[in-house]
Subunit: 212 residues, 2 copies
């Protein structure tokens, strides 16, 4: 169900952090192949073929299939952390920062859903070192959202019984957008982002609900 349009998620230059161009093309091909057939059913030969390259050319850039998955997962998690950190560190109340974090995180998961699915569902295929690195990034992602919720509780803006559990639920709700979102569905990524920001503010018991 992956198409070039879905893979890019409407972003003008996805994967532009990957250079040179051949390495970027191979990464995009790997995302498409993993999304269609799963990591284990994909060979480096499949990936090279999709990129219009030889297997030998692939090995110049990536030693193993796992290295490709690791690179995709690393970039995906770096971007997720960047989105949440930007929202957490901006000016504004905890309510404004949480709404911003949720809506931008949702938009990213809707737009880059093919990448997000691979990043989430193929985590077990990473080797121990790569996995430990990604798990550390996931802890940082969690800490950004938890920090905003803790700020809101401390400021009396939020009413939360279980900060850790609510943080987990907020992230889970946003991440699962990658599973169900469809460009053929009735909602745009922006609309889902706005709906989810409202629902999450309800989950944290935000005072003075903004219902305009």
């Amino acid at each position: 169900m992956s198409t070039a349009e879905e893979t890019t998620g409407g972003e003008a230059e996805p994967w532009d952090e990957v250079t040179p161009d051949a390495a970027r093309r191979l990464l995009v091909a790997a995302v498409e192949a993993f999304a269609e057939r799963g990591y284990h059913a994909t060979t480096t030969r499949d990936i090279a073929g999709r990129a219009g390259m030889s297997p030998a050319a692939l090995y110049i850039h990536y030693k193993t299939k796992e290295e490709l998955l690791h690179r995709i997962s690393r970039i995906g998690h770096d971007k997720a952390l960047d989105i949440l950190r930007t929202a957490a560190q901006r000016e504004g109340s905890a309510k404004e920062r949480l709404a911003d974090a949720v809506s931008s995180f949702v938009r990213w998961h809707a737009g880059r859903r093919t990448t997000a699915r691979i990043v989430q569902y193929e985590l077990d295929a990473l080797g121990p070192d790569a996995r430990a690195e990604i798990v550390a990034l996931r802890r940082q992602v969690d800490a950004e959202v938890r920090g905003i919720i803790e700020d809101g509780v401390a400021a009396g803006e939020f009413d939360v019984l279980d900060v850790q559990g609510t943080t987990l639920a907020v992230l889970s709700l946003c991440i699962d957008v990658a599973r169900w979102f469809s460009v053929n569905g009735p909602r745009t990524p922006e609309e889902v982002g706005a709906l989810y920001a409202d629902l999450v503010l309800r989950m944290v018991g935000a005072k003075q609900p903004d219902r305009t």
Copy 2:
């Protein structure tokens, strides 16, 4: 990451609707193999081997690998629908019924997470007819939750701006438990179910929050 314990999810007799015993063993083997390597990387030979049977013996019960996936998906969706229908049709306020629906749906997704992941992530691998059947079941799942929310709105128990979108978010939150839940984590399925029932009642703006 699949183990026999995870596959059964602590249920005494999972898949007991599948008979004879050989057909049930093959189904359990298919769940384990799909969970470990993905649908496309799994062969009927792999599945037969795991079940301690020959490929020829497998074909007595299942004509194709897709038939196994279809059967797993059908049973999983039937069970999901049964859980939600039971909660929707019980006695009680919309608030009680929604809390019951969410907590029991979460417990099932935590306990049967290996099956739930396959059911959710390998949907695209089904052929058109099987897929249409499963999509129809998913609409019924959606309708059960939407019905409870609509009842709550009509009774003045809930305050919901977007019933369809909130229904989608509630189901998504519960389904994604299958992705992140771990028996090594700090929460039991029952604890996650109780937390999520509270969070969902907040999402629908339930009056008189039960915060004991």
